[in-house]
């Protein structure tokens, strides 16, 4: 066990625990935007920074392992300022309408979303190049989750990467090709991990656009995929007796929330089998 102090409170945690886990474990509010439990920490959003005695700069708690004797502060003025400015910079750049975690950061830090607004933004046309999911990059906060899910952490497909630099850094399919011309296999694991709604299933997108997506009318049922013999646990999201979305639980030991194209999107047959509904002949 390691012994450390967080906000003046002594705690013991097992070796290998991150500072984030330790702080959250004792109930501290530590916001994260890019961190995801099943992906390598990207350290990109910096919302989870804390003060650690002996470190000149603030430290991203999501990737920092706890050390014996560490003294951590999560509530200092510096920490607050960094988080608030991060929220303000992102809201000055992106459409945050569907970014729940970011909205929470804004309200928690009392960020002034207009403070750095007025400059260049990421407003751009919707990329709607296939019928399985859409890409709405004006909501993208460049958290790297999709890149990691498409790459070494999950899929090993490498259809997307970050291209460009500075404010122009962005997720790219390679010369901005339409997805069907890229290496994409449409597993939708990028959609699964996207924290802002920049990536959205086409069906959900269309239902939302037409005002028919009613969260409270959706029931979610856990079951097992009907395709190959891997045995992926599915969550079927059903609205008006129609499957409108398929996901997998993040904590499932087989899928870790990740599915293949058939499991995630190949569900339409469930609701078109009305062609035999009564015994024949």
């Amino acid at each position: 066990m390691l012994h450390l102090t967080i906000d003046g409170v002594s705690i013991n945690v097992p070796a290998g625990t991150t500072v984030l886990e330790a702080a959250r474990g004792m109930g501290e509010y530590v916001p994260t935007l890019c961190w995801h439990p099943n992906l390598t920490p990207a350290n990109a959003c910096r919302a989870c920074v804390v003060e650690i005695e002996g470190s000149r700069a603030l430290v991203s708690s999501c990737s920092r392992q706890a050390e014996d004797g560490m003294v951590v502060k999560t509530k200092t003025e510096r920490v607050h300022n960094a988080r608030q400015v991060i929220a303000e910079l992102l809201t000055s750049t992106n459409n945050t309408a569907s970014a729940g975690d970011l909205q929470e950061l804004v309200s928690h830090t009392a960020a002034n979303t207009l403070r750095f607004a007025g400059g260049e933004t990421w407003e751009q046309p919707l990329r709607d190049d296939n019928n399985l999911f859409v890409r709405n990059y004006d909501a993208c906060i460049l958290c790297y989750r999709c890149v990691e899910a498409c790459g070494v952490d999950v899929q090993n497909t490498f259809a997307i990467a970050v291209a460009g630099r500075g404010f122009d850094a962005h997720i790219d399919t390679g010369f901005d090709r339409p997805l069907p011309e890229s290496d994409c296999v449409f597993c939708g694991n990028c959609v699964e991990v996207c924290p802002t709604g920049a990536l959205l299933d086409k069906k959900e997108y269309e239902l939302r656009q037409s005002g028919r997506w009613e969260e409270q009318d959706i029931t979610t049922t856990r079951t097992t995929c009907s395709y190959c013999g891997v045995g992926c646990e599915l969550e079927l999201h059903v609205m008006d007796n129609q499957v409108v979305k398929v996901t997998s639980p993040e904590d499932n030991p087989i899928t870790h929330g990740m599915l293949c194209v058939k499991g995630r999107y190949g569900y339409e047959y469930v609701q078109v089998h009305e062609d035999i509904t009564e015994p024949a002949p």
Binding site: T221, G229, G231
Partner: protein
């Protein structure tokens, strides 16, 4: 089938998490990146942690792209390769002697059987250079732990069981079974293939792999069910087709299958089905098989409209639950079967899925400790799980590493034989078949969703072959075997070697690939040789 003979149970010996702990992954005839994508995630986690990945497959595909080494052997030459690897391992003294001595039988016979399988001889058959065979054999044998995975590239051959034996032999030779990060793993092609076998959907087995020919076993089931059980094994699928041909079998009840499109030599199968006196099909779709049925019973979608369990490729029993109302009069499979029984004069009452499961686990010790309540709470359990408090079994055959390992695992020496249908002057190409990532089997399920590749079937052909035939990308050709022909546009790709062409059967309504496939079957398992048929490619003249 092969695993049952050697180990007494037909389940993969590993859990997926073993891929994270292994040093060497040998995939044979398994394009997991496309056919089992989530297993591929686990494979690649292992690779990222330092495991070596070697893939044996005639084609380049998304799996071979990520492999450290791809052995693109000739279709059907697997045993030659595997025996030559064993030859090298034994010749160089790399076998695991303590394990062989304690936990196996028949090593001497096996050793003699591979004595002639020099890498040079295997090179001539497989097309893999001898030095690469030597090198892979060394790396495999010297790894602390290795996992061998396979799918239909091994089992959809006329000598399927021998192929499996050859793999099992390699694992026994190197002690790669029953330890963390080691094992043998057949990846099941359909959601509940494992569960079907587990529940006795095999001619010679009762639920839980219990031996039908064992009178003790039979007595237990007879007492429970109140009927006498025929001690003679029933027919496997290919025997059924033969019996239909002889008119010995004239009535068939098909549940959730589309054999007219999914079976090899499907024109022949269709004639057999048309000649039946009674064909009952229970399905969610009016499939081509249902279309010629005498009675069609509308079923509910297994995983979305009814309750039950599936068993996956790591022997995990998992719940399926109804998420939506079934349309019209579609009914649950148990409802239909019990109603049929009542119609036939048997007083079967309708049971819930949980009640059926509880009856099953009373009779099948492997599942006895699993209740629906536990499955719900624990998110699935891996068999064997013989008692209430038992945590389930992450991997099988750990007993082989104990001082008294129990029943030893026998080596099963096998010899290579060529594919049943070799290329001839008239049929110069070898057609091999398989899956594409976005689609599934005959396409009944996957034809309905708007995938960008929903553009129909194509014949994958090497550009050199295409040049010789004077055909260009997208041009329609007729592919003809001794059993039938299909018309399909071609796609030039170096994923297949010259002489080999590839088709899936996902667009069977337009391109009924299986009319070409060979129904030569394995004498033990009854599986057909989908993976190799001799075909001619002819230019369509307008």
């Amino acid at each position: 089938m092969g695993l049952t003979t050697v180990f007494g149970a037909g389940g993969g010996t590993i859990a997926y998490e073993d891929f994270h702990k292994t040093d060497f992954i040998l995939l044979v005839g398994a394009n997991v990146a496309e056919a089992h994508p989530i297993i591929f995630h686990h494979v690649m986690k292992g690779v990222r942690r330092g495991a070596e990945l070697v893939v044996v497959d005639p084609r380049k595909n998304l799996t071979t792209r990520r492999a450290h080494e791809h052995l693109a052997l000739r279709v059907g030459s697997d045993i030659a390769l595997l025996n030559a690897m064993a030859h090298v391992i034994i010749r160089d003294g790399l076998q695991r002697r303590d394990f062989i001595g304690r936990a196996t039988t028949g090593f001497d016979v096996y050793r003699k059987s591979v004595a002639d399988w020099t890498p040079a001889r295997a090179e001539a058959i497989t097309g893999i250079p001898a030095d690469r065979i030597e090198s892979v054999a060394h790396r495999f044998a010297e790894a602390d732990g290795a996992i061998i995975g396979w799918t239909l590239g091994i089992t959809e051959h006329h000598n399927a069981v021998n192929n499996v034996y050859a793999l099992v032999n390699l694992a026994l030779l190197t002690g790669n079974v029953g330890r963390p990060g080691t094992g043998l793993s057949p990846f099941r092609g359909q959601n509940n293939v494992q569960g079907g076998g587990d529940m006795g959907a095999l001619p010679n087995r009762l639920p839980g792999y219990q031996d039908l020919t064992d009178s003790e076993v039979r007595r237990k089931f007879e007492q429970a069910w109140g009927v006498s059980i025929d001690p003679l094994p029933g027919l496997d699928q290919s025997q059924m087709f033969e019996a239909m041909g002889r008119k010995d079998l004239t009535g068939l009840y098909v549940i959730g299958e589309n054999p007219i499109q999914s079976e090899a030599n499907s024109n022949h199968i269709k004639r057999l089905f048309q000649d039946l006196e009674a064909l009952v099909v229970q399905d969610i779709f009016l499939t081509p098989t249902a279309e010629i049925a005498d009675v069609v019973l509308p079923a509910r979608v297994s995983f979305a409209e009814s309750e039950g369990t599936f068993v996956n490729s790591e022997r995990r029993v998992q719940r399926v639950r109804a998420a939506r109302q079934a349309p019209g009069e579609a009914q649950d499979d148990i409802w239909i079967i019990t109603a049929l029984a009542r119609a036939m004069g048997h007083p079967w009452t309708f049971l819930s899925a949980a009640e059926v499961f509880d009856e099953m686990r009373l009779l099948a010790p492997n599942f006895r400790g699993m209740s629906y309540e536990r499955l719900d709470r624990e998110g699935g359990l891996q068999w064997p799980c013989p008692a209430d408090g038992h945590p389930g079994s992450v991997r099988l055959h750990e007993r082989l590493w104990q001082d008294s390992p129990g029943r030893p695992a026998p080596f099963m020496p096998v010899d290579w034989e060529p594919v049943a249908e070799q290329p001839t002057a008239e049929f110069p190409f070898t057609l091999t078949t398989g899956r594409r990532l976005a689609f599934f089997n005959t396409g009944v399920q996957t034809q309905h969703y708007p995938h960008p590749d929903q553009t129909g079937e194509r014949l994958d052909i090497n550009p050199a072959d295409a040049a010789n035939l004077h055909v260009i990308e997208g041009q329609a050709v007729r592919v003809r075997s001794q059993r039938g022909s299909v018309t399909v546009p071609i796609h030039l790709t170096d994923s297949v070697n010259p002489g080999t062409v590839f088709l899936s059967f996902h667009f069977s309504d337009d391109v009924p690939t299986n009319v070409l496939a060979l129904d030569a079957t394995d004498p033990v398992a009854g599986t057909a040789e989908f993976k190799a048929a001799a075909v001619a490619i002819e230019i369509e003249t307008a």
